[in-house]
Symmetry: none
Subunit: 154 residues, 2 copies
DNA sequence: ATAAAAGTGGGAAAAAGTGGGAAAAATGCT
DNA sequence: AGCATTTTTCCCACTTTTTCCCACTTTTAT
Protein backbone atom coordinates (compact mmCIF):
# COMPACT_ATOMS: atom_id res chain seq x y z
CA UNK A 1 0.00 0.00 0.00
CA UNK A 2 1.19 3.51 -0.81
CA UNK A 3 2.20 5.66 2.11
CA UNK A 4 -0.70 7.67 3.47
CA UNK A 5 -0.06 11.37 3.85
CA UNK A 6 -1.85 14.51 4.84
CA UNK A 7 -3.71 16.27 7.60
CA UNK A 8 -7.47 16.44 7.33
CA UNK A 9 -10.01 18.27 9.40
CA UNK A 10 -13.50 17.05 10.05
CA UNK A 11 -16.42 17.25 12.41
CA UNK A 12 -17.88 14.81 14.87
CA UNK A 13 -21.68 15.01 14.80
CA UNK A 14 -24.14 14.52 17.63
CA UNK A 15 -24.23 10.77 17.08
CA UNK A 16 -20.48 10.40 17.27
CA UNK A 17 -19.89 10.07 13.53
CA UNK A 18 -17.41 11.73 11.24
CA UNK A 19 -17.04 11.65 7.48
CA UNK A 20 -13.92 10.00 6.16
CA UNK A 21 -12.41 12.81 4.10
CA UNK A 22 -12.52 11.83 0.47
CA UNK A 23 -8.90 12.85 -0.03
CA UNK A 24 -7.85 10.28 2.50
CA UNK A 25 -10.18 7.64 1.24
CA UNK A 26 -8.85 7.98 -2.29
CA UNK A 27 -5.36 7.19 -1.11
CA UNK A 28 -6.49 3.71 -0.14
CA UNK A 29 -6.80 0.77 -2.53
CA UNK A 30 -10.43 0.35 -3.57
CA UNK A 31 -10.93 -2.86 -1.67
CA UNK A 32 -9.69 -1.28 1.55
CA UNK A 33 -11.79 1.84 1.65
CA UNK A 34 -14.56 0.47 3.80
CA UNK A 35 -13.18 -1.71 6.56
CA UNK A 36 -11.06 -0.44 9.38
CA UNK A 37 -10.12 -1.04 12.97
CA UNK A 38 -9.83 1.78 15.45
CA UNK A 39 -7.93 1.46 18.70
CA UNK A 40 -6.36 3.59 21.39
CA UNK A 41 -3.21 5.37 20.41
CA UNK A 42 -0.16 5.59 22.61
CA UNK A 43 -0.63 9.33 22.73
CA UNK A 44 -3.95 11.00 23.51
CA UNK A 45 -5.50 10.01 20.20
CA UNK A 46 -7.06 7.10 18.36
CA UNK A 47 -5.52 5.12 15.54
CA UNK A 48 -7.47 4.08 12.47
CA UNK A 49 -6.03 1.00 10.74
CA UNK A 50 -7.02 -0.27 7.33
CA UNK A 51 -8.16 -3.81 8.08
CA UNK A 52 -5.32 -5.50 6.24
CA UNK A 53 -2.73 -3.47 8.13
CA UNK A 54 -4.46 -4.25 11.40
CA UNK A 55 -4.37 -7.94 10.73
CA UNK A 56 -0.64 -7.96 10.24
CA UNK A 57 0.05 -5.80 13.25
CA UNK A 58 -2.35 -7.54 15.60
CA UNK A 59 -0.90 -10.93 14.72
CA UNK A 60 2.39 -9.77 16.20
CA UNK A 61 0.79 -8.61 19.40
CA UNK A 62 -1.27 -11.73 19.65
CA UNK A 63 1.83 -13.89 19.44
CA UNK A 64 3.26 -12.44 22.64
CA UNK A 65 3.34 -14.69 25.69
CA UNK A 66 0.29 -13.75 27.71
CA UNK A 67 1.57 -15.37 30.88
CA UNK A 68 4.11 -12.57 31.16
CA UNK A 69 2.46 -9.70 33.07
CA UNK A 70 3.95 -6.90 31.01
CA UNK A 71 3.06 -8.48 27.73
CA UNK A 72 -0.40 -9.28 28.99
CA UNK A 73 -0.86 -5.68 30.06
CA UNK A 74 0.21 -4.50 26.66
CA UNK A 75 -2.13 -6.90 24.91
CA UNK A 76 -4.95 -5.73 27.09
CA UNK A 77 -4.30 -2.14 26.23
CA UNK A 78 -3.92 -2.89 22.55
CA UNK A 79 -6.90 -5.14 22.00
CA UNK A 80 -9.39 -3.87 24.49
CA UNK A 81 -9.77 -0.43 23.04
CA UNK A 82 -10.11 -1.71 19.52
CA UNK A 83 -13.24 -1.79 17.42
CA UNK A 84 -13.90 -2.88 13.88
CA UNK A 85 -15.73 -0.23 11.88
CA UNK A 86 -17.26 0.08 8.45
CA UNK A 87 -18.23 3.24 6.66
CA UNK A 88 -21.96 3.87 6.51
CA UNK A 89 -23.87 4.69 3.33
CA UNK A 90 -22.58 8.24 3.39
CA UNK A 91 -18.97 7.28 4.02
CA UNK A 92 -18.93 7.99 7.73
CA UNK A 93 -17.29 6.28 10.69
CA UNK A 94 -19.23 5.77 13.89
CA UNK A 95 -17.20 5.99 17.10
CA UNK A 96 -18.16 4.46 20.42
CA UNK A 97 -18.46 6.69 23.44
CA UNK A 98 -15.51 5.18 25.25
CA UNK A 99 -13.20 5.81 22.31
CA UNK A 100 -14.42 9.39 22.13
CA UNK A 101 -13.69 9.77 25.79
CA UNK A 102 -10.32 8.12 25.65
CA UNK A 103 -9.04 10.59 23.10
CA UNK A 104 -10.98 13.49 24.57
CA UNK A 105 -12.60 14.21 21.23
CA UNK A 106 -14.75 17.30 20.88
CA UNK A 107 -16.64 18.54 17.86
CA UNK A 108 -13.59 19.24 15.71
CA UNK A 109 -11.19 16.49 14.72
CA UNK A 110 -7.87 16.26 12.98
CA UNK A 111 -7.01 13.14 11.00
CA UNK A 112 -3.29 12.75 10.62
CA UNK A 113 -2.11 10.17 8.12
CA UNK A 114 0.97 8.20 9.14
CA UNK A 115 2.46 5.82 6.59
CA UNK A 116 -0.05 2.97 6.82
CA UNK A 117 -2.40 4.20 9.52
CA UNK A 118 -4.26 7.35 10.52
CA UNK A 119 -4.24 9.11 13.87
CA UNK A 120 -7.45 10.74 15.07
CA UNK A 121 -7.02 13.74 17.34
CA UNK A 122 -9.16 16.32 18.96
CA UNK A 123 -8.33 19.51 17.07
CA UNK A 124 -7.43 21.52 20.14
CA UNK A 125 -5.36 18.73 21.64
CA UNK A 126 -3.54 18.28 18.35
CA UNK A 127 -2.73 21.95 18.04
CA UNK A 128 -1.59 21.99 21.64
CA UNK A 129 0.69 19.05 21.04
CA UNK A 130 2.09 20.67 17.92
CA UNK A 131 2.92 23.83 19.82
CA UNK A 132 4.56 21.97 22.65
CA UNK A 133 5.37 18.38 21.74
CA UNK A 134 7.77 18.01 24.64
CA UNK A 135 10.60 17.55 22.17
CA UNK A 136 12.68 19.81 20.02
CA UNK A 137 12.17 18.64 16.46
CA UNK A 138 15.74 19.32 15.44
CA UNK A 139 17.16 17.26 18.26
CA UNK A 140 14.56 14.61 17.71
CA UNK A 141 15.41 14.35 14.04
CA UNK A 142 19.07 13.96 14.81
CA UNK A 143 18.49 11.30 17.40
CA UNK A 144 15.98 9.33 15.44
CA UNK A 145 17.82 9.44 12.15
CA UNK A 146 21.45 9.07 13.18
CA UNK A 147 21.67 5.33 12.71
CA UNK A 148 20.14 5.38 9.28
CA UNK A 149 23.32 6.30 7.46
CA UNK A 150 22.43 7.99 4.21
CA UNK A 151 19.92 10.74 3.63
CA UNK A 152 18.95 13.63 5.83
CA UNK A 153 15.40 14.37 6.72
CA UNK A 154 14.17 17.23 4.50
CA UNK B 1 -10.22 -17.69 14.69
CA UNK B 2 -9.84 -13.96 14.12
CA UNK B 3 -8.45 -11.93 17.00
CA UNK B 4 -11.19 -10.88 19.37
CA UNK B 5 -11.15 -7.18 20.00
CA UNK B 6 -13.02 -4.53 21.90
CA UNK B 7 -14.17 -3.27 25.25
CA UNK B 8 -17.81 -3.81 26.08
CA UNK B 9 -19.82 -2.60 29.03
CA UNK B 10 -22.63 -4.57 30.53
CA UNK B 11 -24.65 -5.05 33.66
CA UNK B 12 -24.88 -7.90 36.09
CA UNK B 13 -28.52 -8.31 37.08
CA UNK B 14 -29.97 -9.42 40.39
CA UNK B 15 -29.72 -13.05 39.36
CA UNK B 16 -26.04 -12.83 38.50
CA UNK B 17 -26.52 -12.79 34.76
CA UNK B 18 -25.08 -10.57 32.08
CA UNK B 19 -25.84 -10.29 28.38
CA UNK B 20 -23.06 -11.27 26.03
CA UNK B 21 -22.69 -8.07 23.99
CA UNK B 22 -23.74 -8.72 20.43
CA UNK B 23 -20.64 -7.06 19.08
CA UNK B 24 -18.53 -9.60 20.84
CA UNK B 25 -20.69 -12.55 19.97
CA UNK B 26 -20.60 -11.68 16.30
CA UNK B 27 -16.84 -11.92 16.29
CA UNK B 28 -17.05 -15.61 17.13
CA UNK B 29 -17.61 -18.36 14.57
CA UNK B 30 -21.26 -19.40 14.60
CA UNK B 31 -20.62 -22.77 16.12
CA UNK B 32 -18.71 -21.21 19.00
CA UNK B 33 -21.16 -18.57 20.11
CA UNK B 34 -22.84 -20.61 22.81
CA UNK B 35 -20.35 -22.67 24.73
CA UNK B 36 -17.68 -21.25 26.98
CA UNK B 37 -15.57 -21.94 30.01
CA UNK B 38 -15.01 -19.34 32.67
CA UNK B 39 -12.13 -19.47 35.11
CA UNK B 40 -10.11 -17.20 37.34
CA UNK B 41 -7.88 -14.73 35.58
CA UNK B 42 -4.30 -13.99 36.51
CA UNK B 43 -5.30 -10.45 37.38
CA UNK B 44 -8.37 -9.52 39.42
CA UNK B 45 -10.80 -10.65 36.77
CA UNK B 46 -12.37 -13.70 35.22
CA UNK B 47 -11.54 -15.17 31.85
CA UNK B 48 -14.18 -16.34 29.42
CA UNK B 49 -12.84 -18.90 26.95
CA UNK B 50 -14.58 -20.07 23.81
CA UNK B 51 -14.75 -23.80 24.34
CA UNK B 52 -12.36 -24.68 21.53
CA UNK B 53 -9.75 -22.25 22.84
CA UNK B 54 -10.17 -23.60 26.33
CA UNK B 55 -9.52 -27.11 25.14
CA UNK B 56 -6.21 -26.17 23.58
CA UNK B 57 -5.06 -24.01 26.43
CA UNK B 58 -6.10 -26.34 29.22
CA UNK B 59 -4.31 -29.20 27.48
CA UNK B 60 -1.07 -27.27 27.88
CA UNK B 61 -1.66 -26.75 31.56
CA UNK B 62 -2.70 -30.32 32.09
CA UNK B 63 0.51 -31.47 30.45
CA UNK B 64 2.65 -29.84 33.12
CA UNK B 65 4.44 -32.20 35.46
CA UNK B 66 2.14 -32.41 38.47
CA UNK B 67 4.81 -33.97 40.69
CA UNK B 68 6.39 -30.53 40.85
CA UNK B 69 4.72 -28.54 43.66
CA UNK B 70 4.73 -25.21 41.84
CA UNK B 71 3.27 -26.63 38.69
CA UNK B 72 0.72 -28.54 40.70
CA UNK B 73 -0.28 -25.36 42.51
CA UNK B 74 -0.68 -23.55 39.23
CA UNK B 75 -2.82 -26.32 37.83
CA UNK B 76 -5.04 -26.17 40.87
CA UNK B 77 -5.41 -22.43 40.56
CA UNK B 78 -6.18 -22.69 36.88
CA UNK B 79 -8.74 -25.47 37.03
CA UNK B 80 -10.41 -25.13 40.40
CA UNK B 81 -12.54 -22.13 39.62
CA UNK B 82 -13.35 -23.21 36.11
CA UNK B 83 -16.91 -23.65 35.01
CA UNK B 84 -18.52 -24.53 31.72
CA UNK B 85 -21.31 -22.14 30.74
CA UNK B 86 -23.88 -21.78 27.99
CA UNK B 87 -25.88 -18.74 26.94
CA UNK B 88 -29.57 -18.72 27.89
CA UNK B 89 -32.38 -18.02 25.45
CA UNK B 90 -31.71 -14.28 25.58
CA UNK B 91 -27.98 -14.67 25.08
CA UNK B 92 -26.96 -14.23 28.70
CA UNK B 93 -24.30 -15.85 30.85
CA UNK B 94 -25.08 -16.92 34.37
CA UNK B 95 -22.22 -16.57 36.84
CA UNK B 96 -21.84 -18.46 40.08
CA UNK B 97 -21.53 -16.50 43.29
CA UNK B 98 -18.09 -17.97 43.76
CA UNK B 99 -16.79 -16.40 40.54
CA UNK B 100 -18.55 -13.11 41.21
CA UNK B 101 -16.77 -12.87 44.52
CA UNK B 102 -13.39 -13.86 43.21
CA UNK B 103 -13.33 -11.00 40.73
CA UNK B 104 -15.14 -8.62 43.05
CA UNK B 105 -17.83 -7.98 40.47
CA UNK B 106 -20.43 -5.31 41.17
CA UNK B 107 -23.36 -4.25 39.06
CA UNK B 108 -21.29 -2.81 36.21
CA UNK B 109 -18.95 -5.02 34.21
CA UNK B 110 -16.39 -4.50 31.53
CA UNK B 111 -15.77 -7.30 29.03
CA UNK B 112 -12.43 -6.87 27.44
CA UNK B 113 -11.44 -8.98 24.47
CA UNK B 114 -7.90 -10.23 24.44
CA UNK B 115 -6.88 -12.01 21.23
CA UNK B 116 -8.70 -15.33 21.68
CA UNK B 117 -10.35 -14.93 25.06
CA UNK B 118 -12.34 -12.37 27.01
CA UNK B 119 -11.57 -10.89 30.40
CA UNK B 120 -14.44 -10.01 32.71
CA UNK B 121 -13.77 -7.11 35.07
CA UNK B 122 -15.65 -5.08 37.57
CA UNK B 123 -16.03 -1.71 35.88
CA UNK B 124 -14.50 0.31 38.68
CA UNK B 125 -11.59 -2.11 39.05
CA UNK B 126 -10.94 -2.00 35.32
CA UNK B 127 -10.97 1.77 35.19
CA UNK B 128 -8.65 1.83 38.15
CA UNK B 129 -6.27 -0.49 36.38
CA UNK B 130 -6.43 1.54 33.18
CA UNK B 131 -5.64 4.74 34.98
CA UNK B 132 -2.76 3.21 36.81
CA UNK B 133 -1.68 -0.09 35.30
CA UNK B 134 1.67 0.17 37.02
CA UNK B 135 3.26 0.67 33.61
CA UNK B 136 3.60 3.49 31.17
CA UNK B 137 2.13 2.18 27.94
CA UNK B 138 4.58 3.99 25.75
CA UNK B 139 7.51 2.42 27.61
CA UNK B 140 5.76 -0.90 27.69
CA UNK B 141 5.20 -0.82 23.96
CA UNK B 142 8.83 -0.07 23.36
CA UNK B 143 10.02 -2.84 25.64
CA UNK B 144 7.59 -5.46 24.53
CA UNK B 145 7.87 -4.77 20.83
CA UNK B 146 11.52 -3.94 20.42
CA UNK B 147 12.57 -7.38 19.22
CA UNK B 148 9.84 -7.65 16.66
CA UNK B 149 11.48 -5.44 14.08
CA UNK B 150 9.16 -3.13 12.16
CA UNK B 151 5.94 -1.57 13.27
CA UNK B 152 4.92 0.14 16.44
CA UNK B 153 1.88 -0.69 18.42
CA UNK B 154 -0.61 2.01 17.60
C1' DA C 1 -24.05 28.46 -14.45
C1' DT C 2 -24.93 23.84 -13.90
C1' DA C 3 -23.88 19.39 -12.58
C1' DA C 4 -21.54 16.32 -9.73
C1' DA C 5 -19.34 15.16 -5.60
C1' DA C 6 -18.64 15.95 -0.69
C1' DG C 7 -20.43 16.87 3.67
C1' DT C 8 -24.37 17.09 7.32
C1' DG C 9 -28.44 16.12 9.94
C1' DG C 10 -32.15 13.54 11.44
C1' DG C 11 -36.16 10.02 11.48
C1' DA C 12 -37.84 5.30 11.43
C1' DA C 13 -37.15 0.36 11.48
C1' DA C 14 -34.67 -3.19 13.51
C1' DA C 15 -31.79 -5.18 16.88
C1' DA C 16 -29.91 -5.28 21.46
C1' DG C 17 -30.48 -5.03 26.23
C1' DT C 18 -33.20 -5.60 30.62
C1' DG C 19 -36.29 -7.17 34.06
C1' DG C 20 -39.30 -10.21 35.89
C1' DG C 21 -42.72 -14.11 36.27
C1' DA C 22 -43.90 -18.90 35.84
C1' DA C 23 -42.45 -23.66 35.29
C1' DA C 24 -39.33 -27.08 36.54
C1' DA C 25 -35.96 -29.11 39.35
C1' DA C 26 -33.61 -29.78 43.55
C1' DT C 27 -33.58 -29.81 48.52
C1' DG C 28 -35.21 -30.59 53.05
C1' DC C 29 -38.55 -31.77 56.59
C1' DT C 30 -42.10 -34.68 58.98
C1' DA D 1 -42.71 -41.45 50.74
C1' DG D 2 -45.20 -37.13 50.35
C1' DC D 3 -45.44 -32.38 50.78
C1' DA D 4 -43.46 -27.80 51.27
C1' DT D 5 -39.81 -24.62 50.28
C1' DT D 6 -36.02 -22.93 47.89
C1' DT D 7 -33.26 -22.62 43.86
C1' DT D 8 -32.61 -22.82 39.07
C1' DT D 9 -34.05 -22.53 34.37
C1' DC D 10 -36.58 -20.93 30.75
C1' DC D 11 -39.27 -17.79 28.33
C1' DC D 12 -42.01 -13.60 27.49
C1' DA D 13 -42.65 -8.67 27.06
C1' DC D 14 -41.06 -4.09 27.45
C1' DT D 15 -37.40 -0.34 26.82
C1' DT D 16 -33.44 1.56 24.93
C1' DT D 17 -29.95 1.81 21.62
C1' DT D 18 -28.16 1.17 17.23
C1' DT D 19 -28.31 0.88 12.41
C1' DC D 20 -29.76 2.13 8.12
C1' DC D 21 -31.41 5.13 4.88
C1' DC D 22 -33.21 9.39 2.94
C1' DA D 23 -33.04 14.19 2.00
C1' DC D 24 -30.96 18.48 2.18
C1' DT D 25 -26.80 21.85 2.03
C1' DT D 26 -22.33 23.15 0.66
C1' DT D 27 -18.36 22.86 -2.04
C1' DT D 28 -15.77 21.71 -6.21
C1' DA D 29 -15.18 21.07 -11.09
C1' DT D 30 -16.30 21.95 -15.89
Amino acid sequence: MKSLIGEYHCKLDAKGRFLMPSGLRKQLPEDQQNDFVINRGLDKCLVLWPLSVWEKESAKIRALNSYDPKRRAFQRMFFSGAREVQLDGSGRVLLTSFLIEHAGLGKELVLEAQSDRVEIWDKTAFEGWMEDPGYDFGMLAEEVMKDLGSGEGG
